[in-house]
Symmetry: C2
Subunit: 464 residues, 2 copies
C-alpha cells in the first residue's frame, strides 16, 4: 500500500511551515557536548538523553524513557497502535566523537552555525542529525495524520562512539520489549555527493595477537646467530604463510561460510561511480593490490581480509644493534563477511598459525576480540521498501554499497533480536565525521525526514 | 729454532722473583677507570695510555709513544734489533667497558682485589690483563736475554670498547711504520675453563635496514582492508623469503665466496667439549634450529647467518586498533665468514629484497654498516707456532675455536696492513667481561706471559 498523495501533501506543508523551529531544535540538540568517551562529559550525555526524551514526548511518542544501562542511558520510545501492521525498530545514537584537534575547527564544535546549505557542528552528521530527523519525522507524521502506518520503536543509544559497551546486555535484557520485524539503522551515508544509497552489508572482525617467544633475554647475534631460531624471522614466516601471492588467505576453511556474491551484487557494485586510478592516486600508492579475481570495491567491501595491524620486536632505535630479539609480536586481524563467525575464524586462525609456526620458538596466539558481519540482501522486502522511499523523495534510485568497516550494533540486532537490518543513512561521504568541521547538508536532512516517513509507508506490506 | 732450556729457566726464575711487583703493577693499571665510551673518562683513558708508555719504557721497549688519533691515543712501542728475523705486531686495548649495573659488583670495579686465584676488577680480563701480560713478557725477555728473538711492534688502542672509531684511519696513515709479518691479537679467550685455545676465525657483519612504505598515514583496516598492500604483511613476506626452511639463505650468490670447511676444520670443531642438549637447556629453547647439514658449533661459528635484529610498524600498544600501518621497518643483518665481502653481500641483499618485494608498496634498503670476516687457517705457520707455545707452557695442546662475533681490528689488520692474524688470548669464557665482577685467573695470567715469550721464540722460523 503506497502513500496517498494527500498524505504527502499534508506532510510537506507541515514540514515547510515548521522548518525554522526544526532548525532551532536541531541546533539546540547539537549544543549539548555529549562526548561519550570522555568521563567529564557523562552529565552532558545524560542531558542529551533527557533532551531527546522531551523532544520525543513532544512528538507524540509513548513509553518515552531514558533507560539505565550501567553507562550512558539508552533512549527508548514507541508507538504501537497499528495492529496487524509490521513493527519497525529505528536506531541511532546521540553521543558524539571527541573534538580534537580543536584548533582545526573554523567555529567552536558545539556552537552550530549554518553556512549556505550546511550546518557545522560535532554530531551534525554522526549521528545527531539522523536521530533528529527521525524524531522530526515522527512528530510530523503524528501531527498530520494522527497515526503511523506501522508500529514503531525507537532506540537511541549513548555509547556508540565508545564501543557500545553496555548495549548488548541491555538488548538481551529487553529482548521482549524490543520485538520487531525489521531494524532501520540510520548511522551510515551516501556513496558520493547527494546520490542516495543503501548499505547492504558491513564486515565483521576477528582480532588476534601472535607472540613468538625465544630466550629470556636478547642474544648476541654474533655469538648465537645461526644456532637458534630467531623469533622475529619466525614471526615473519608465520605472517607470510597466512596469505598467498594471489591475495587469498591460506587458513583452511577460512572461506567456507562466505556467502557467494551474486551476479546482481557484482553488477550493482560495478555500477557505482568509482575510479581505481583516482583512488590509487589519492592514496599515493604505486599500485592497488588485493585478492585476484575481484575489483577494488569488492575487495574492500565484500571480501574478507587479513591484515597486520602492528608488529614489533627487538631493536628499533637509530643505528644498529646486533641482537637476536628474545621475542616478537604482531597484531593481526581479519575483516569478515557474512556468514563468517569470528569465534570459528579465530579457532581456524590459531590452529593454522600453530601448524605453520617454525620450530625452535614458542608461538602463542591470543584472541583480542571480534564482531559478526551483517548482510541484508538487495532483494529483501525491507531493502526494497527503503529503496522506493529514497527514490520517491530524493528523485533518484539509490545505489547499493558495501561497507568494509563494522557497525557492531547491526550484528547485535541480528544475533540478539533476530532482526534483518536496513542501513538507511543520509550523510555525505566527505562530512568530516570524527574530524574537525563536521557538517550535514540541510537539504539532505530535510529530505531525510520525508524519506523516513515514506519508508514507514512502504514497509506496511513487509511480509511478517 | 726452538728456545733453549737455559733461556726458559732464566725467564722462569725472573718471573718467579718479580711476581709480587708484577701483581702490584697489574693492579695499578686496573685502578685507572679508562672507560672509552664515556666522555667524562677521556682523561682517564689518557692516564692509562701514559701509564703504559711508562711501563713499556721501563720494560726496555723503544720508540714508545702515546700517538694522537683524534680520539683516545694509541700506544705504540717497538724493538727492532733482530735483522733477518720476522716482525710481529702485538695488539691489545687498554680501554674498558662501562661498569653498570654498579650495585651488582661485589667490590668496586676500579679497586682490584685478589680472591683466591682470581683478580677482580673491570678490565682484569678484557683487555688490560692481556695487555699487561704482553708488557711484562717484553720486560722479562729483555731483562733475562737482552734481546727478542724476533722484531716486535706493540699497538695498544684505547677505543676498542667504543667501536675503534679512529683506528682504521690511524692504521692507514701509519702503514709504513706498522709493517710486519703477522699480527698477534690478544683479546680473545679459551673455550672452556683452563683449556688453551686459538681462535681461528671471526665472523664479519653486513647490517641493513628495510623500510616498506605505503600511504602517508595509517589507513582504517575496515574501509581500506583488502584493496591495498599492507606494508607490514609485505615486510613479513620479504623477510620470510630471505631464508628457506632448511636454514639456507636464498640471496643469489650469497655463499659464492664462502671458504669451504675442510675435513680437519670440521674434525677440530667436533672435538670441542660441547653438549647440544645442555646448550639448549641453558637457553631455555624448545629446540636448536639452524642450517641443515651443520652442527651447532659450525652454525654459530663458521657459517654465515641472516637475522632480524628488530622489526616495527603500526599499532604496538595494549588492546586492538584496526589500522593498516602506513609503513613498516626491519633491521636485518648477516654474520659473514671468509671470504665474504660486506659491501658485495649488501648489494646482493638489496637486489634480492627489491626482487621479492611485493607490489603496491615502496621498499627501500639501506646499508647501516659492515665489517669483514677474518680467518687464519689451523695450518698457517703462525698458528702452528702459537699452538706449540701454548702446549709447552699450559701443558696441553690448544683447541681451535671459531668465534661467531667480530673483532673488527682483525679485518683491519688484514685489509689495511695485509697481515695474517693469530688470535692468542688467555681469558676464561665465564670471566664476566662486559658484566659485573669481571675477573682473570692469575695462574692463566702468569702462564700467558710465558706463552707470549715462547710464541716469539716459535715465530723465529716464520716464512716471510
Amino acid at each position: 500500500m503506497a502513500t496517498m498523495p494527500d498524505d504527502l501533501a499534508a506532510l510537506d506543508a507541515y514540514l515547510a511551515a515548521t522548518r525554522d523551529d526544526r532548525l532551532e531544535s536541531y541546533m539546540a540538540f547539537l549544543r549539548i557536548p555529549s562526548i561519550s568517551a570522555l568521563p567529564e562529559h557523562a552529565a552532558d550525555c545524560r542531558r542529551a538523553a533527557d533532551w531527546l526524551v522531551e523532544a520525543m514526548t513532544t512528538a507524540g511518542l509513548e513509553h518515552v524513557e531514558a533507560a539505565e544501562t550501567g553507562g550512558h542511558p539508552v533512549v527508548y520510545a514507541d508507538w504501537l497502535h497499528a495492529p496487524g501492521a509490521p513493527t519497525i525498530l529505528a536506531y541511532g545514537h546521540y553521543d558524539v566523537q571527541p573534538v580534537d584537534p580543536l584548533d582545526l575547527w573554523t567555529s567552536p564544535p558545539f556552537e552550530p552555525v549554518v553556512v549556505r546549505d550546511r550546518i557545522l557542528a560535532r554530531g551534525a552528521a554522526d549521528d545527531k542529525g539522523q536521530v533528529h530527523a527521525h524524531v522530526m519525522a515522527a512528530g510530523a507524521i503524528l501531527a498530520t495524520r494522527g497515526a503511523f502506518p506501522v508500529n514503531v520503536k525507537y532506540l537511541f543509544e549513548g555509547e556508540e562512539e565508545s564501543s557500545s559497551v553496555h548495549l548488548d546486555a541491555w538488548l538481551a535484557s529487553e529482548r521482549d520489549r524490543l520485538g520487531a520485524d525489521v531494524a532501520i539503522v540510520s548511522d551510515s551515508g551516501f556513496f558520493e555527493g547527494n546520490l542516495p544509497a543503501i548499505t547492504l552489508s558491513l564486515r565483521g572482525l576477528m582480532y588476534a595477537q601472535i607472540d613468538v617467544v625465544g630466550t629470556a633475554v636478547d642474544l648476541h647475534s654474533g655469538t648465537y646467530g645461526g644456532a637458534v631460531q630467531n623469533p622475529a624471522n619466525a614471526l615473519a614466516t608465520i605472517i607470510a604463510g597466512l596469505k598467498g601471492p594471489d591475495g587469498r588467505i591460506r587458513i583452511p576453511g577460512f572461506y567456507d561460510d562466505v556467502v557467494p556474491l551474486s551476479e546482481s551484487d557484482r553488477a550493482s557494485l560495478a555500477a557505482l561511480p568509482f575510479d581505481d586510478a583516482a583512488y590509487q592516486r589519492q592514496l599515493g600508492l604505486p599500485a592497488l593490490v588485493g585478492e585476484v579475481g575481484y575489483t577494488t570495491l569488492e575487495r574492500r567491501g565484500v571480501r574478507p581480509t587479513l591484515d597486520v595491524n602492528g608488529i614489533w620486536g627487538g631493536f628499533t632505535g637509530e643505528g644498529s644493534k646486533t641482537i637476536i630479539p628474545a621475542h616478537a609480536h604482531a597484531k593481526v586481524s581479519c575483516r569478515l563477511v557474512a556468514d563468517q563467525d569470528p569465534d570459528r575464524i579465530f579457532e581456524a586462525f590459531r590452529s593454522y598459525v600453530e601448524e605453520i609456526a617454525p620450530p625452535g620458538v614458542t608461538t602463542i596466539v591470543r584472541y583480542l576480540g571480534g564482531g559478526s558481519p551483517s548482510l541484508t540482501p538487495m532483494d529483501h522486502p525491507a531493502t526494497r521498501a527503503a529503496a522506493r522511499a529514497l527514490e520517491a523523495t530524493f528523485g533518484r534510485a539509490p545505489v547499493y554499497i558495501r561497507e568494509g568497516g563494522s557497525i557492531p550494533v547491526c550484528a547485535s540486532f541480528a544475533s540478539i533480536l533476530g532482526l534483518p537490518v536496513v542501513l538507511l543513512g543520509f550523510t555525505q561521504p566527505d562530512d568530516n565525521a570524527h574530524a574537525p568541521n563536521e557538517w550535514m547538508d540541510l537539504r539532505n536532512y530535510e529530505t531525510a525526514i520525508r524519506a523516513i516517513a515514506q519508508t514507514f509507508d512502504e514497509l506496511v506490506d513487509l511480509p511478517r
